[in-house]
């Protein structure tokens, strides 16, 4: 059991993190104090063209030296600093959260890695799999993840979440059941501009993990949600599928329903299921994914976890509980629960 929140303002009007903190804390019954986290998009406008790499360091000597070396090898560190924190009695600071604003160097992108994104993905996989004492937990542009082991309000206060202003917010209140409660295991999970908050347990994890590992992703976070970020990156970025198609691949219609569809639609769904069978996610889940274009919420094919949607003008809210949405926005209109597997997509208005 976990509690999740997704928020987007489609006009890119930014909101600070204070109300998200309150709404997430409201769902403390869905958590266990073992992990909480926030992702916010639009928070680093001054470094918008840099990758914001958020790293947990065990210390600032050996692991940081290795990460610095790797970053120098692949590009330029435009700016770096410790992520500002305020000590909280409820949080034991076992890692030092650090951030780099990083620009990959163009003349190094050759051979196996081709684009800026590929370079950054390679760095993330390399550090997380091989550098002891360092975990890159956020690697998108103009966005960042803030997470730790603790209750939502403590984690928010620790990171001074009210100091950040974003047009997309994701938040997660964790009750870990299938993996240890460590900082890297808290949600959101992120790779490049993809961030995932997830309530549930992915029973197809082994299949999904084997699938993404074929494409160079390395699962190192010891928990199932990580693979969702990689699936979105693989299908959404590398295979260039639309968000709707990605959801169709991850939570496809049943064969009985496909058999009843008009020929063209049935063929499309059949092709998706045959091609992306190993990407199909099984088990109970409700998920919100943050992307560079907006947010996507969806549940498993038989909806074994709750997901509620609310709208108010340009604002779209997705959460495990209606109460959390009403706390965020008492004026919210059009509250409803989507059907199983149905994608809820909030995009920026151009």
């Amino acid at each position: 059991m976990c509690g999740i929140i997704g928020f987007i303002d489609r006009t890119k009007s930014r909101m600070d993190g204070s109300s998200i903190k309150v709404a997430l804390s409201l769902m403390n019954e869905r958590g266990s104090g073992d992990g909480a986290g926030y992702a916010a998009y639009g928070i680093y406008p001054e470094y918008a063209d840099c990758y914001a790499l958020h790293v947990f360091f065990d210390n600032l000597t050996e692991p940081k030296k290795k990460v610095d070396e790797l970053l120098h090898q692949w590009g330029e560190i435009v700016h770096q600093e410790e992520i500002p924190t305020t000590p909280q009695p409820g949080i034991k600071k076992v890692h030092i959260p650090w951030r780099y604003f990083f620009k990959p160097s163009e003349n190094l992108m050759e051979g196996r890695v081709a684009s800026e994104n590929d370079v950054v993905m390679h760095i993330v996989m390399e550090v997380n799999a091989t550098v002891k004492g360092a975990t890159i937990f956020s690697s998108g542009k103009n966005m960042g993840v803030f997470k730790a082991s603790g209750w939502p309000e403590d984690v928010a206060n620790f990171y001074r979440i009210e100091d950040y202003k974003g047009y997309i917010w994701l938040a997660h209140n964790r009750y870990p059941t299938n993996s240890p409660g460590w900082w890297g295991g808290a949600h959101p999970f992120n790779l490049l501009n993809w961030s995932v908050v997830h309530n549930g347990e992915i029973t197809s994890y082994g299949t999904n993990q084997r699938y993404v590992e074929e494409y160079g992703y390395k699962c190192t976070a010891l928990t199932d949600t990580e693979v969702v970020a990689y699936l979105f990156d693989l299908l959404g970025r590398q295979h260039e599928l639309s968000h709707e198609m990605v959801v169709k691949a991850l939570a496809p219609p049943f064969w009985d329903d496909i058999d009843r569809m008009p020929a063209k639609e049935a063929e499309l769904n059949k092709v998706i299921r045959l091609t992306y069978g190993s990407a199909l996610m099984n088990g109970p889940f409700a998920i919100v994914v943050g992307t560079e274009n907006g947010i996507v919420g969806f549940t498993d094919r038989i909806k074994l976890r709750p997901l509620v949607v609310g709208e108010n003008g340009s604002k779209l809210y997705i959460s495990s509980e209606e109460a959390a949405i009403r706390t965020l926005d008492p004026e919210v209109k059009n509250i409803y629960t989507p059907r199983a597997g149905e994608p809820i997509i909030g995009r920026f208005i151009e």
């Binding site: 029973t203 197809s204 045959l274």
Partner: protein
Amino acid sequence: MTLGSVPPKFKVSIDRDQCMDCGRCIENCSYGVYRREGDKILIESRKCTACLRCVAMCPRDAIDITEKPIDYRPHPVWTREAREDIINQARSGKIILSGMGNAKDLPIIYDRLLLDACQVTNPSIDPLREPMELRTYIGKKPSKIKFRKTESGDVELETKLAPNLKLDTPIMIGHMSFGAISLNSQLSMAKAVAETGTFMGTGEGGLHKKLYPYQDHMIVQVASGRFGVNIDYLERGAAIEIKIGQGAKPGIGGHLPGEKVNEEVSKTRMIPFGSDAISPAPHHDIYSIEDLVQLIRSLKEATEWKKPIFVKIAAVHNVASIAAGIARSSADAVVIDGFRGGTGAAPKVFRDNVGIPIEVAIASVDQKLREQGVRNEISIIASGGIRNSADLAKSIALGADSIYIGTAALVALGCRVCGNCYRNLCPWGIATQRPDLVSRLDPEVGAMQVSNLIHGWTLELSELMGAAGINSIESLRGNRDRLRGYMLDEGMLKILDVLPAGA
């Protein structure tokens, strides 16, 4: 004859108080154990194979068969088997023949793999109330989907699917030829696969015209002897399988004894009546992978690229690299036959010593195909000693797309695994062409038994998946996270890529 005879394997006795002297045992035993002399039924135990036909047919349960009534002096090295093989070869100077699969008492890996189930943190799914999808497609899959923009600006699917077989359940019946087994056995299985929405193989024995009504559920085989192969045969099959090797006897060919080649078999195989049908060890047009590629393309051309082509290999040490080579050809599926795979006849030394277990073969093939990024290029069909729905579920979790059963289907028809298939005397009417014996197997009844078995396993697989919180077979495939090893050593766990129980 200085060697004399070896002790009989079985001792047959009749409880004379129970016996009603009906003579069914005499009628039923094709091995000639029983005969009547005067008013007494006499027994020649030495001829008994423990096929249990007499026991099954005795109305009074009067027959008792015990194993090894006389044993040798016990010795841990010079076992009964070791001594008897030497005695037999000293007498004959020949290769020892055997039937069925590997009979060595080696640990079965399936039995040391444990499946997972949900408790509390995720709900198990009840297949009686929720959809449970076992539908499986066998064949090439795209590695990614492509769309194109039409002139009107719409987005249209560009990707076209290669031909795939659609299975309602991931259980197929492997290749057992007409000749090796009776037409009634093939008919029983053909009706069963048609009813359960799956497929069976013809083996290298051609396709008898009585099977034409089921041809949409038949996979026709092209093996090294090319028996029964012509364009009509290829066109009738739903898919075509090139047989390179077989788990029971990797590296050698096949042999159908002339006794089994009656008129129908001779016509269907296109070989002379009564002649031995000998399939050579290699295909005489395949001396390397590129030759296989040519044969696949030729078969595809001949059938207008409308049918999936399978390639069947025995699980040998280098199976993963061989499968990866096959994945790079135009083949649509690779069949891997483990060292417990059955056979009508194989040299005992091959059956018991050559090849590797199917469990590790699936694991290493799936792993290699993924490392090389060609897993979607080819489906994996696993076979060789799959005994029940748990073996099926574990095969899929290790990475197989579907399985072939062979012995299990024959047991459903009555086979008691006596291992004398090559003698043309099968009292159950399965591995024989003798009309009086074949008539013992009613294809209608046989079909019901085989389809019952497939139904039963399908239901059990659904329950196992539901318990694991999985409602689609794709999510079980390669899901080694839901397996744990028990009493397996570290090296084996590493190859299987499975955690030990408790981890």
